[in-house]
């Protein structure tokens, strides 16, 4: 399968008063046409900023300072802003983490859907857009779409808001959808429903999905390939199955140990320590202060991103000698 999205050595920094936050500091990503690609890592590791960079909507004081992003053969970073705007929503769309704040509280559901449908697309009349909005609401399995159309966000439940945010992202049938922790702020029962909905929509709309999460359970459930990021850099990337059974990076192993398992009555372990300060990150391998296998070289030298086997890459000095434990 060919690459739909290819991100190479992306660097996005935030120039704050406290210093330069290197939120994304050399992330590479290959997303193939039609796949469900997971982007996983603890909160603060640069997943959201990566997605915002691809859409070129990084908020101030953030700035993309390096790298290359090609989408369907187009170099996105050299596009004029007007042309990039035409890519947003129509080719690449995004669903945000917090459904409460991702809908504008002052406008009705209908207004926000119509706005998304008609962005850069004024040939669609208001009446046509209205019909399209109603059918989008049915697509995301919202009951009584006609009534919901006229309601305001504060009149809806969290799950319903997230369905509407998804409907808005699908408004112009994008090729690629970034779903940034789409279920993190929802109740557990609603989470499962929304994830199932996303699976169906991906198939029905013939989309490629990049699913961002910190939850390895969701990665296992939803994706076929996965990229693990740590402190603004990629630590490992592989097919989901391979990553779970044959992890080669100690951080991946730690994430897998942190997954709650129903079948094993084992104490849940969280990854020990905290994600490093991104203004002044650790030298060498950024994971070394938290890594149980760290040796001298890990503190001194940045590891190369090496091929373990076809489609499996890792950035660790010791991957050949360690035998890490995956899911059993």
């Amino acid at each position: 399968m060919e690459d739909l999205l290819k991100v190479e050595d992306l660097r996005t920094y935030f120039f704050t008063e406290a210093g330069v936050v290197k939120a994304v500091d050399g992330i590479s990503l290959d997303v193939r046409k039609g796949e469900s690609h997971g982007l996983v890592g603890e909160s603060g590791s640069g997943k959201s900023v990566t997605a915002l960079s691809v859409m070129r909507i990084v908020p101030k004081p953030g700035k993309i300072v390096g790298g290359k992003i090609s989408f369907d053969g187009t170099d996105l970073l050299t596009l004029k802003e007007d042309d990039m705007r035409r890519v947003r929503g129509s080719k690449i769309a995004m669903v945000f983490q917090d459904p409460i704040s991702s809908l504008d509280p002052l406008y009705t559901v209908g207004k926000q859907l119509i706005e998304a449908i008609r962005a850069n697309n004024e040939t669609v009349s208001k009446e046509q857009a209205r019909d399209m909005a109603i059918s989008l609401l049915s697509n995301v399995e919202i009951s009584e779409p006609e009534r919901r159309f006229n309601q305001y966000p504060h009149e809806l439940s969290g799950g319903m808001k997230q369905r509407i945010a998804i409907a808005r992202a699908l408004a112009r049938t994008p090729t690629l959808l970034f779903a940034d922790e789409p279920t993190t702020n929802l109740d557990v029962t609603i989470q499962a429903q929304v994830l199932n909905l996303m699976k169906d929509l991906k198939k029905n709309f013939n989309m490629t999905l990049v699913l961002i999460t910190h939850d390895m359970g969701i990665i296992a459930e939803m994706t076929s390939r996965v990229t693990v990021v740590y402190a603004g850099q990629v630590s490992e990337s592989a097919e989901t199955h391979t990553l779970f059974y044959h992890p080669t990076h100690p951080y991946t192993e730690a994430l897998l140990k942190a997954v709650p398992r129903l079948d094993k009555r084992k104490q849940l372990q969280s990854v020990g320590g905290n994600i490093p300060n991104l203004i002044d990150p650790p030298t060498g391998c950024r994971f070394h202060p938290r890594c149980p296998y760290a040796i001298q070289i890990c503190k001194e030298k940045v590891p190369d991103y090496e091929e373990v086997e076809t489609d499996h890459f890792v950035a660790c000095h010791r991957w050949k000698e360690l035998s890490l434990v995956g899911v059993q």
Binding site: P59, R86, Y152, H154
Partner: protein
């Protein structure tokens, strides 16, 4: 829509007790200041004829309990009868009419100008946070925010009227035909100084608050989500960011208009601007209690109406406040 109409009705009904409270309070204070007949007598220097005196006693219901007299006052008030001015002996209501207009015309033009200039400046400042221009704008705004209008007025008069001699320092219009012979220009020339002072102070409030809210709103996911759906940046800024940032400020703008009306005596006196505030000072100096009372009631009513208008605009802009 139903909830909006409901909300309007609730707000209007809520005004009635507030109106009664405000007028009762004003009336009692006014009465504590002195018996109007004694003041009239003073004005006539003891030559008040007996029959006029008796008529006045009946007119002011002297001798009745103050609450009963308040009810009479209220009854007259809702018939636009505010009594007679002691200095001019004309009905207060017909004297006040033009003053209301003169005050409003200064206040509203300053507010409109402040919004017109303030909104783009606040947007620019918020979008270029921490830049040199942002820091300068914020500094100037803080200065305006903490400066009393009458003081700024005096400084302006000194610079532009006495030192540079380019603009008139007092009144709303010249007493004699100005040398350029154009009354509209003459009115504008008189308006410039007081309006500039007032605009500057309101501008400071608007920029300071709007910039702060915009910075908060611009971080929200719905702004990113709107950008991500391919909207033009202008549409996102004006349609989503500005509307969300300005909605909570509507209340403060309404309150500041009220405060500005209440503070009108200071500014209007500095410029001898013949509006409610200036005339209030004149009437108070002349112990013209019916006029002072009348102006106080009118200013209170104007503040109430400003608050009502504010609530209605707020309710119209923000669906969340309509439910209660």
């Amino acid at each position: 829509m139903g909830s909006l109409i409901n909300y309007i009705i609730r707000r209007v009904l809520f005004m009635i007790p507030v109106f009664i409270g405000v007028t009762l309070f004003t009336f009692l204070i006014g009465n504590a200041a002195g018996n109007p007949i004694n003041l009239i007598r003073l004005a006539f220097k003891g030559t008040l004829p007996q029959n006029v005196y008796l008529q006045l006693v009946a007119y002011y219901h002297i001798g009745e309990n103050p609450l009963i007299r308040y009810l009479y006052y209220l009854w007259d008030l809702i018939h636009f009868d505010l009594g007679l001015s002691i200095t001019s002996q004309r009905p207060v209501a017909s004297e006040i009419g033009p003053w209301v207009w003169t005050t409003l015309y200064l206040q509203l033009s300053a507010l409109a100008l402040a919004l017109l200039i303030g909104i783009p400046i606040a947007i620019y400042s918020a979008r270029h946070q921490h830049s040199k221009s942002d820091t300068t704008i914020t500094g100037i705004a803080i200065f305006g925010y903490s400066t009393p209008t009458f003081w700024l007025g005096i400084i302006f008069i000194y610079i532009f009227s006495f030192y540079l001699r380019v603009l008139p320092s007092s009144g709303a219009v010249s007493a004699i035909t100005p040398w350029w012979g154009n009354w509209t220009l003459d009115r504008i020339a008189h308006l410039i100084l007081p309006m500039t002072v007032l605009t500057y102070v309101q501008l400071a409030t608007i920029i300071r608050l709007l910039r702060g809210n915009l910075l908060e709103v611009l971080k929200q996911d719905y702004i990113l989500a709107a950008m991500a759906s391919g909207l033009k940046e202008r549409a996102v800024i004006y349609g989503h960011a500005l509307r969300n940032a300005i909605t909570p400020i509507i209340t403060i703008i309404g309150l500041s208009l009220g405060a500005s009306l209440a503070g009108a005596p200071g500014l209007e006196t500095a410029f001898s601007w013949p509006g409610l505030g200036y005339e209030f000072t004149q009437a108070a100096l002349a112990l013209d209690i019916p006029t002072v009372l009348g102006i106080t009631v009118i200013i209170s009513v104007m503040v109430l109406v400003a608050n009502l208008a504010t609530d209605l605009v707020y309710g119209f802009l923000d669906p969340r406040v309509r439910v209660s």
